[in-house]
């Protein structure tokens, strides 16, 4: 490899976001969070701490829940990203979004996109989680408003609804 210039150049990065192929011009170490929000205008994903503690920036990367504030966009090259904007289909909400509304799972709403992504991910891995599974699945998403109780109810209700179907 040649000796590298001092500043890095931006480069084209191809990735799929919410089912659509996207190309962004970004520095490779730029946080996926910033690329989603600033380059792609997908502001549903939030920054709460910038250190991978609060989970507000959670997205799915190739089906895995990750904190997008800790992912350099170069490592998302070729990956499939799902953000909160991709969770609803047109005007049909995901059952979890319905139950979050019914059970009071969202208060101020800032943790909600990440929390819903975490819940979506949990139900994909464990379609019938018990309370301990739910607590564990969401332990990386901090909520300061709800005390979590109604979030657990929302997840449990979405599970019952799916099972009933």
């Amino acid at each position: 490899m040649n000796s590298s210039p001092e500043k890095s150049a931006k480069c084209d990065i191809l990735l799929t976001v919410n089912g659509e192929p996207r190309k962004v011009l970004a520095h490779p170490v730029e946080r996926l969070l910033d690329v989603l929000r600033n380059e792609l205008g997908l502001t549903g994903t939030k920054e709460g701490c910038g250190e991978g503690e609060c989970g507000s920036c959670s997205v799915l990367l190739d089906g895995m829940l990750v904190n997008s504030c800790l992912v350099p966009v170069a490592q998302a090259s070729g990956a499939s990203i799902v953000t909160i904007e991709g969770i609803s289909t047109h005007y049909l909400m995901n059952p979890l979004q319905e139950t979050f509304l019914e059970c009071g799972g969202a208060q101020c709403g800032i943790c909600t996109p990440g929390m819903i992504l975490a819940a979506v991910h949990l139900l994909e891995k464990k379609p019938e989680p018990d309370l301990a599974d739910i607590r564990e699945g969401l332990a990386g998403n901090l909520c300061r408003c709800t005390g979590y109780m109604q979030i657990f109810e929302a997840v449990a209700k979405a599970v019952r609804r799916r099972v009933a179907k």
Partner: protein
């Protein structure tokens, strides 16, 4: 239309769909063309003088907008109460992280580097870092005596009670600073045009506080300042007064540059630089009869206000008034003060002084029980306020509150008696001790005394030609349910479906000043005004002979259409009127402090693990009387969220200070509970109504903050026998206390002694 059809139902959150789909717009989601980013250069010392500000010559400063105190067009202060806090320091700083200089640039990254390229030379001054140091007054850092405010409440004849007392019980209690830790950091965008003035969009609780502050700072008249509240990601008081500061900064940069400026704090900056809950020290000295009734007492309550007065006088006020709790004090002397230290000013945080003084009181009640030789339950029974008795400020309790019943019910719901017995047996063995503790308390809703009269809130309701009703208030939604509850009230008042009522985004050019969104006043006081204003719409239509007394939504819509076509805008306003029977003496701090109290008994069950010295809350019962439950799901959410913050206050959240600066300013080392840490929080309500509140509602937003900490620490003492008087109670603190007072083990370890 029957009562409780909409009010009293768990209708969905008005802005909920946007929140669960990621469509809700918070300030950082907004971008304006030509927008610059702004940042703040802050003090690195706790107290010092400065003259020289150096700018690293390697930076091209011409690219940057630079603002110092000299650039302030109006008054260099954040207008609030005493107006002693500068917007930008001029020659002297009084706390670490105090704002000195502002920068703006289109490139966020260059901006960040530029902040680091500014250096300020300080001549350090002696600084004060604790209540004790401040009281000693050997270094004066504020006013003549480091005291922002003091109160004296006197009832009865305190000096006479000591000689009759069978017991005199003393105690000293401490609470630490607590960070609000809203998940959305403080942020604002400001834009300025010479003809229209300044506009600010922000994450905030009180648009009109910011409005007032910007008028003074920018030297602009009322109609040249516009404040708009964006979706706000949590506040809890942390965005009550602080936004005036960050908005002021963005405004100054916008004025100087002629461009919109966005300032968004990252977590570290938000934690070190913005307000926290006031640390407190309370001293109790109580005269008690042989049977355990309080004859009288002295309460000394002191809070640390930080470097500037800001809201400390009001926090002190609430802490003072709540210091006696839900008990009858025949005589009492309550001496309180807020003192200055060289710390970023402490500020509003849910509860606002009451969690501090109630922590002390409820711990002290358990102490009194021990001295008298009765249970914590019995001591409270013997002292509970009854209807017709007066509080410490001589407010007569007029409603039929039955605290005995509330206590009975809480004990039953928590299975208190059976657990207490079981724990006493189980605790004889093993490394895990169980305990159960209670707290009984009250919380006054609305501004104290004549505060609501001073606020003089105004509320509007508007009906469009399409029949859609819009509530016009400056009351902000930040998760607690303002939008939903006020729309429910308006819908119910007009007999319309919930979907037929909307609420305007708080924008000072659109909505009247319904007062700040604080003090648990929104549902109760603003809600009542919304009800009146909504009825006013109906009255207007009826008077115009466009609507009968009974009507369908379709008829309403048609009437609106006609009215607007004939007369133009259909708006109705309602202004606050002080209830005729509420009297408050601001001089002697006596009388009817609050229009309504909510009452509660909380029960905490804990396990103390003697291997790790950690406390886990296993079960929590929160029972409260709140007048009327306007929306069950939202009300329950307020309680569980508040209890969770109370658990954090008691066991997890510690601010580590070094030279007046917060050291643990990241979420990795400022610890709030995760989903894996909280017990089932079981919430129950009772409803006694309230003549002063909409549909009989009382305020509930802050109530749940008062009970958890003392209930938990009472439970920890029950489990270990160790008297903890200071929170947060961390495992390290428990460990140190147990080193000195080991917990008794009745039975030898199962291994036996033989080798």
């Amino acid at each position: 239309m029957q009562e409780g059809h909409i009010v009293g139902a768990s209708v969905p959150r008005k802005e909920g769909r946007d929140k669960v789909t990621g469509a809700a717009r918070y300030v950082d989601d907004m971008v304006l063309p030509g927008m610059l980013h702004g940042a703040t250069v802050r003090s690195s010392v706790a107290r010092g003088k400065f003259q020289k500000i150096s700018f690293d010559p390697n930076v091209n400063w011409n690219e940057f907008v630079v603002v110092t105190a000299k650039d302030i067009p109006g008054k260099n202060c954040i207008a609030l109460i005493l107006d002693d806090q500068p917007c930008l320091a001029a020659g002297i700083v009084n706390h670490a992280e105090e704002p000195v200089l502002l920068l703006a640039h289109a490139d966020r990254h260059k901006l960040r580097k530029a902040v680091d390229a500014v250096s300020i030379e300080y001549e350090p001054l002696p600084s004060v870092h604790s209540i004790e140091e401040s009281e000693r007054q050997s270094t004066i850092i504020w006013g003549n005596d480091n005291t922002f405010k003091s109160y004296l409440v006197e009832k009865g004849n305190v000096d006479d009670v000591w000689r009759e007392a069978a017991h005199i019980v003393e105690g000293e209690y401490f609470t630490g600073a607590q960070e609000q830790l809203y998940i959305e950091n403080n942020g604002v965008i400001a834009a300025f045009k010479p003809d229209s003035g300044i506009t600010v969009w922000g994450s905030l609780q009180c648009p009109y506080y910011v409005h007032k502050a910007l008028m003074a700072l920018c030297g602009l008249p009322e109609d040249k300042v516009r404040v708009v509240q964006m979706e706000t990601g949590g506040a809890f008081g942390g965005k009550e007064e602080y936004p005036s500061m960050i908005a002021g900064h963005a405004a100054l940069l916008a004025i100087k540059s002629g461009k919109p400026v966005k300032i968004i704090y990252d977590r570290m900056e938000d934690m070190v630089a913005t307000t926290k809950r006031h640390p407190s020290r309370t001293r109790h000295r109580t005269a008690v009869s042989k049977e355990g009734t309080i004859l009288g007492g002295e309460i000394e309550f002191t809070i640390d206000g930080g470097a500037y007065a800001t809201l400390s006088s009001v926090v002190l006020s609430r802490g003072t008034i709540h210091a006696g709790g839900p008990y009858f004090w025949p005589s009492v002397r309550i001496r309180t003060k807020a003192v200055a230290t060289n710390t970023p000013p402490h500020g509003a945080f849910r509860g606002f002084g009451a969690p501090q003084s109630l922590f002390a009181l409820e711990r002290h009640m358990d102490r009194i029980a021990q001295v008298v030789g009765v249970s914590p339950i019995e001591i409270r029974r013997r002292n509970f306020l009854k209807t017709g008795q007066t509080t410490t400020t001589e407010q007569t309790i007029r409603e039929n509150i039955d605290l005995h019943h509330l206590l009975d019910r809480a004990l039953e719901l928590s299975d208190y008696a059976a657990k207490k017995n079981r724990f006493a047996v189980d605790n004889k063995n093993g490394k895990r001790k169980k305990g159960i503790g209670i707290a009984a308390f009250l919380h006054g809703a609305g501004f104290t005394g004549s505060g609501e009269r001073y606020l003089n809130s105004l509320v509007g309701v508007e009906a469009g030609a399409d029949g859609i009703v819009r509530v016009l208030v400056s009351s902000a939604e930040f998760g607690q349910g303002t939008n939903t509850v006020l729309c429910q009230i308006a819908a119910e008042a007009l007999g319309l479906p919930y979907q037929g009522v909307a609420i305007a985004q708080p924008d000072t050019t659109v909505v009247p000043n319904s007062g700040p969104t604080v003090a648990s006043r929104t549902a109760m006081i603003v809600g009542k005004l919304v009800q009146s204003a909504a009825r006013g719409i109906q009255q207007t239509l009826t008077k115009a002979a466009l609507l009968n007394d009974a009507y369908t939504p379709e008829q309403f819509r048609a009437a609106c259409g006609e009215y607007v076509a004939l007369h133009g805008a259909l708006k109705s306003y309602a202004r606050y009127e002080a209830p005729g029977d509420v009297y408050w003496d601001d001089e002697r701090y006596r009388g009817d402090a609050y229009a309504a109290f909510a009452w509660a008994v909380y029960v905490a069950e804990v396990t103390v693990d003697l291997t790790a010295y950690s406390v886990t809350v296993d079960d929590f019962v929160a029972l409260q009387e709140i007048g009327k439950v306007l929306n069950p799901v939202l009300a329950e959410g307020q309680i569980t969220g508040g209890v969770a913050q109370g658990i954090g206050f008691a066991l997890y959240e510690k601010v580590l200070w070094q030279n007046g600066r917060m050291m643990n300013s990241q979420m990795t080392n400022y610890i709030m509970p995760t989903s894996a840490d909280l017990p089932p929080i079981r919430v129950f309500f009772e409803e006694l109504g309230n003549v002063h509140g909409a549909h009989g509602a009382k305020g509930i937003g802050e109530l749940p903050m008062d009970g958890p900490a003392p209930a938990i620490v009472n439970a920890v003492e029950d489990a270990t026998g160790v008297r903890f008087c200071s929170i947060p109670l961390l495992p390290e603190d428990l460990f140190e206390a147990l080193r000195n007072e080991p917990v008794e083990q009745d039975v030898p370890s199962p291994l036996g002694d033989s080798a």
